[in-house]
Structure formats: C-alpha cells, structure tokens
C-alpha cells in the first residue's frame, strides 16, 4: 500500500517536474566543475540569481514567489498550506537562505551542487566530489538519502556544472540569512531510493542526441 501510494505521488511529482521543466530554458554551457569556492564572483552570483528565478525555486521554497524583493523569498515553508502530501508522507520545502542552523549556511557549494546534480540531501551526505551514480562507488553514498519529492532535481541535474555552481554561489553568498526552522520531510525508510532509480528517472547524463524520439536538424 505504501509502495502504491508512493508511486502515485511520484507520478504527481513528475507532473510538477514537467511543468517546471518547461518553465525554464537555459543555454547548455559545457566545461568541468571548478574547485568549490565559498565566495562566488559577482558575475557568478548574478548568473545563479537568473537561474534561481527562471527555475522557479521560489514557487515552493518561500512565499514571495520568484520576486527577490518580496518578503519571505526562499525562506522555506511557513505554514502547512505550503507542504506536500506524497502518498502517505508529508514533505516540506526547506529554507534556502544561508542561515547556519535552519538554512543552507553550513553546506559547502559542493554539497549544494551534489544536491542539484545527484539529488542528495546535503545535510546527510558528506562534502566529497562524486564521480559515480552507483551507490557505494566514486563517493556516491551506499545508502543515499535523496531530496524528497516533488523537488525536481532529476530535471535540474541537466544544467551544466557552471550553472549548478552558480546557483550554489548565489544561495550561499547572494542572499541574506533568515532563521526559519522547517521540520524534516517524511518519507520511506530508503529515503526515496527506490523512486530514483535509473529505470524511473533515466540516466545521467542523458542519452546522446538524437535518441529514437529525436531527429537531427
């Protein structure tokens, strides 16, 4: 029963993912992740800001929508109208401002990068470079703890390294910390691992262009 309701919810979350995925379109930059830095440059922070606004992070993680001047921008959930019911579980949008105790202030940019690229909860995943998506290999945790649905990281992960690092730089260095404690999301004992298999969300990186559904121009 739990499994069925979880499946249903993930279907719902996929719809959210699709909606969000069509809401943004970013040019695919190429290149490798530079060394994680704790202070992004002004250009990097502004690039991150554009991505955060166009990726609609504020739709869930706060109550100012995507208006960076609005009260409650990216501070996470304040009341239960903002939480999700995923099958039998309640999940909650977290505080994305750099407050150490209640936000993302204690995470490195690499941990935020690993959250967006691999869906790994930064508060529960060591700050290491990950070179594999196979649990137990290449820094990928043996028992991965994934971000709770409907966080659309399976779409977000397709951004380039530079783009994801720019988002991390903006959240860490371009926002003022706001203290807002959000309770943990509920979830299955495997921390959603059975919902985020390659069979369900596809491989990373995506199959080379063109696939059977696509055609070269």
């Amino acid at each position: 029963m739990t499994r069925r309701s979880t499946g249903l919810l993930v279907c719902l979350s996929s719809i959210v993912v699709l909606l969000f995925a069509t809401a943004y379109r970013v040019p695919a930059a190429s290149g490798k992740a530079g060394p994680p830095s704790d202070r992004g440059s002004q250009d990097q922070i502004l690039a991150g800001r554009r991505l955060v606004l166009s990726s609609a992070c504020g739709d869930c993680h706060g109550y100012a929508g995507n208006n960076p001047a609005g009260a409650g921008f990216l501070v996470g959930m304040k009341d239960t109208t903002q939480q999700f019911r995923i099958g039998p579980f309640i999940t909650r949008p977290k505080n994305l401002t750099p407050d150490v105790a209640t936000g993302i202030g204690s995470f490195t940019e690499r941990q935020i990068f690993n959250a967006l690229r691999y869906g790994l909860r930064p508060e529960e995943t060591p700050d290491v470079q990950i070179t594999s998506t196979v649990p137990g290999q290449g820094g990928f945790p043996l028992h991965p703890h994934y971000l709770a649905p409907p966080m659309p990281w399976p779409s977000w992960r397709n951004m380039s390294d530079e783009e994801l690092l720019a988002i991390a730089a903006y959240l860490k260095n371009g926002l003022k910390p706001v203290r807002n404690k959000v309770a943990d999301s509920e979830g299955p004992p495997d921390f959603w691992a059975s919902e985020y298999t390659v069979a369900k969300i596809g491989p990373y990186p995506a199959a080379p262009f063109p696939t059977a559904n696509e055609k070269a121009p």
């Binding site: 150490v100 105790a101 204690s106 930064p122 529960e124 700050d127 309770a183 943990d184 979830g187 004992p189």
Partner: protein, 421 residues
C-alpha cells in the same frame, strides 16, 4: 585490576545462549571501584578475534590511556592502562571499546562496564545504599544470536540510520530485576546508559526522584524530577525513596522520539518496564537528611574563552565531513577555554560526546542552562542548538568528539580535537 575481553557463550536471556563478547566473562564487565587520588593500573588483554581498545568514558586522563581509535590493541596483545583519578572528579563513569568503526558492534556484543569514583569527602550520608543501574538494550534472533544484519541490507541500513536498538531492555544485564527498599529509606542510584543507540527516558511510576548528579559527579543542589532523559553514554545520580510498606512500583522507560521520520521504529511509543522496586514490610527506616547543598561548581568564564568552535551535526557527518584520523578538525592548546556552538541541522537527535575533558552547558536553543553541572554527554535534539564551554586542562593529545549513537560514530560522525602543549 586485570581485564580480559574475549568471546564467551552466555545466557543473556532466559532459556537460550548467545555468542557474546565479554569482559572477564561477564556482561556487564566488572565494576571499577576507585577513589579520588587513586592511581589506577589496568592490565588489559585482548582475546577477541579483532582489534579493540578500552575507553574510560568521561575520565580526565592522559591521551595515551584514553583508549581511543588512535591506540588499538590487536588480537592476542596486552596493554596496561594507567591513570590517576583527579580530585574533584568523583562520579559515575563507564568503560567500553572504542576501536575504529566497530564500537557499536563491540558494545552490542556485550562489552561495557561501570566505573564508580568515590569522593574523598562525600556530602551525601554514607548510610545511603549505593546501587548501580547499567541500562542497555539488545536484539536477538530466535536461536539467541545477537542480531547484526548485513550493512548492505535494508535492515542494516535502518540500523545505520537510527543507531541499532533492540526491544530487550536490561538493567545490569538482567531483564526486569528487583530492588528492595525499606519504607522511608533513601537509596542512591547511579544510572548509566550503556546502550549503543537507545536514549532512555526513565521514570519511577507514581514517584518523583531527586537528581543529585550528572556525568561528572554531583551537582550543586538536589533537583526534584519526575523523569530523566538519559542519552547514550550519559549518567545520572538519583535519590530514590521507599514507598508504603509492602508496595511495589516500576522503573519504566517512557517513549522518546529521537528518530528521523523516515526510519522511526513502529514500536517507538511503547513504554517498557525496566526494574521492579519493592518496598519491604520491614518497619520504616530512620529518616535521613539530604544536604540542601552538595558542592560548589565554579562556572567556566565565557569572558576567558579564546575561540568559538562551530560544530554542525548532519546525519552521519560533522561540518560536512566524515571521520579522518589523519585530519585535525580543531586545534588548540592546553589550558585554553573555548565555547563550542553545536548545531543539529537534521530531524534526528545526535548525542554529543567529548573525550578527555568535562564541559559545562551554557544554553540550549538560547535558553540558559538552569544549573551548573559537569558533563561529557549532551543530547542535541533534532533541529536544535546548544552551547558548551570547556577548558582543556592538563593533558595534550588528540581527543575525539563525536555522536554517541555508535552506528553514526562508526560511520564517520566523529572529529579530532588536537590539544597542543
């Protein structure tokens, strides 16, 4: 004292035997009963099939005798632990293995024992019966085997997540023992949580108790309590009074939700009985007077603090890192006073333990600590903060600080504090 750790087949529960690890053939091991000022020498032999150490939890002693993962003792080898019990440290402590990555396993197999340090001048009446209550838990398969699932399995993953617990609760290795008390009698209970993962929340049904001590010995004044939360590794000294003649009450373990919402056990909210306290039909004992003042604890001065260390507890990680014995996470000097700001950013409790030095709690979630106490364990509840103050007296070395949910510690939730001369 001679102490040997070895494999033993013991009857840990009625009617079935288990292959256990035991100190001197018993679970718990022998109690180390010493006085302030004693020079303690323990001749230890490791007859286990794996490396081990003996960590003297809470005792202020030289680094070389701390029994941390820096000083493993191989199978078949012996080691002499030696330390002098410092004045002012009378209290209740315990000892257990602390090998690299295997502490939870070794304690679950049965390796733990109590240390009682008696004061040169104890303010409590010597007529009080002194009772030791070592709390532990375990989980067994039907054939008596102590249950350690494969870490790659789902059950193993949940143990790693929660910290392994079991439904079988023990006091001094016994299930539901009985303590007798006379009406009007006051007993001094030294309670130790020797469990690898379970946080005990104990209460004497229908009675209050007087708390007189914590990890590092007596507090300044007795405090009346209805219940005591004892996190892993933590100790409390409690004064318990007999009831009406011929009556019985029960020491219970009340539900306490320390768990992540993802892996909270289905039976987390079950109250379980620990011990039966029976008031005899003998005539009431002569009344005893409990002093209203037990001792003076000098507060460490925040104005003297030369650094503030921020320690962020994630799940299985500290400040985003897992344990690396070749890394120093905090470097300081003997005699320095420092504040540690401990932040738990996840939805599971993490008990903080510092080796070598007793500390004082300043505040929890910004609320000032109600009384002074010496501590080496501090539960940091889910999504909460605490500030402690500590002075690194006497002993240089590399000291561990870690989560005392032992599965978390074994998976790297530990750091190294280097105290230089």
């Amino acid at each position: 004292m001679n102490l040997t750790a070895a494999v033993a087949r013991l009857s840990l529960q009625p009617g079935v035997t288990s292959e256990a690890f035991a100190y001197n053939g018993h679970v718990p091991g022998p109690t180390l009963d010493v006085r302030e000022g004693d020079h303690v020498i323990i001749h230890f032999r490791n007859n286990l099939p794996e490396p081990t150490t003996v960590h003297w939890h809470g005792i202020h002693l030289p680094f070389e005798s701390d029994g941390s993962p820096f000083h493993p003792i191989k199978h078949g080898e012996s080691h002499t632990y030696e330390f002098t019990v410092r004045p002012g440290t009378a209290g209740t402590y315990w000892y257990h293995p602390h090998p690299d990555r295997r502490t939870g396993f070794a304690i679950g197999k049965g390796l733990f024992g109590a240390i009682v340090v008696h004061a040169a001048h104890d303010p409590l009446p010597s007529s009080l019966a002194d009772k030791l209550l070592i709390l532990s838990d375990n989980r067994f398969l039907n054939d008596g085997t102590i249950d350690f699932p494969d870490s790659a399995s789902e059950r193993g993953g949940i143990d790693e997540e929660n910290g392994r617990e079991g439904p079988a609760l023990f006091v001094n290795g016994q299930h539901m023992p009985t303590i007798s008390i006379r009406s009007g009698e006051v007993q001094r209970w030294r309670v130790i949580n020797a469990s690898a993962g379970r946080i005990f929340r104990i209460a004497l049904a229908g009675r209050t108790m007087l708390q007189v001590g914590t990890d590092g010995g007596l507090i300044e004044k007795p405090v009346e309590v209805k219940e005591v939360l004892l996190t892993t590794g933590e100790r409390a000294e409690l004064l318990v009074r007999g009831g009406a003649r011929g009556t019985r009450t029960v020491l219970q373990n009340l539900p306490y939700d320390r768990y992540s919402p993802n892996t909270r056990p289905a039976d987390w909210n079950v109250t379980r009985d620990l011990l039966s306290l029976e008031t005899t039909s003998a005539p009431p004992a002569a009344p005893v007077t409990i002093p209203s003042r037990l001792r003076t604890i000098v507060a460490l001065d925040t104005a003297e603090a030369t650094a503030v260390r921020t320690v962020v507890f994630g799940q299985g990680i500290i400040n985003g890192k897992t344990m690396d014995m070749s890394r120093v996470d905090v470097s300081t000097h003997v005699g320095a006073t420092e504040i540690w700001d401990i932040v738990n950013i996840v939805g599971m409790d993490h008990p903080f333990h510092l080796h070598g030095f007793q500390f004082q709690v300043l505040d929890r979630d910004g609320v000032r600590e109600p009384y002074l106490a010496w501590k080496d364990m501090l539960n940091i509840p889910k999504h909460s903060t605490a500030r402690i103050i500590v002075r690194y007296d006497d002993y240089p070395g590399k000291w561990m600080f870690h989560c005392h949910i032992l599965d978390h510690e074994d998976h790297g939730m530990m750091g190294v504090l280097e105290v230089l001369k």
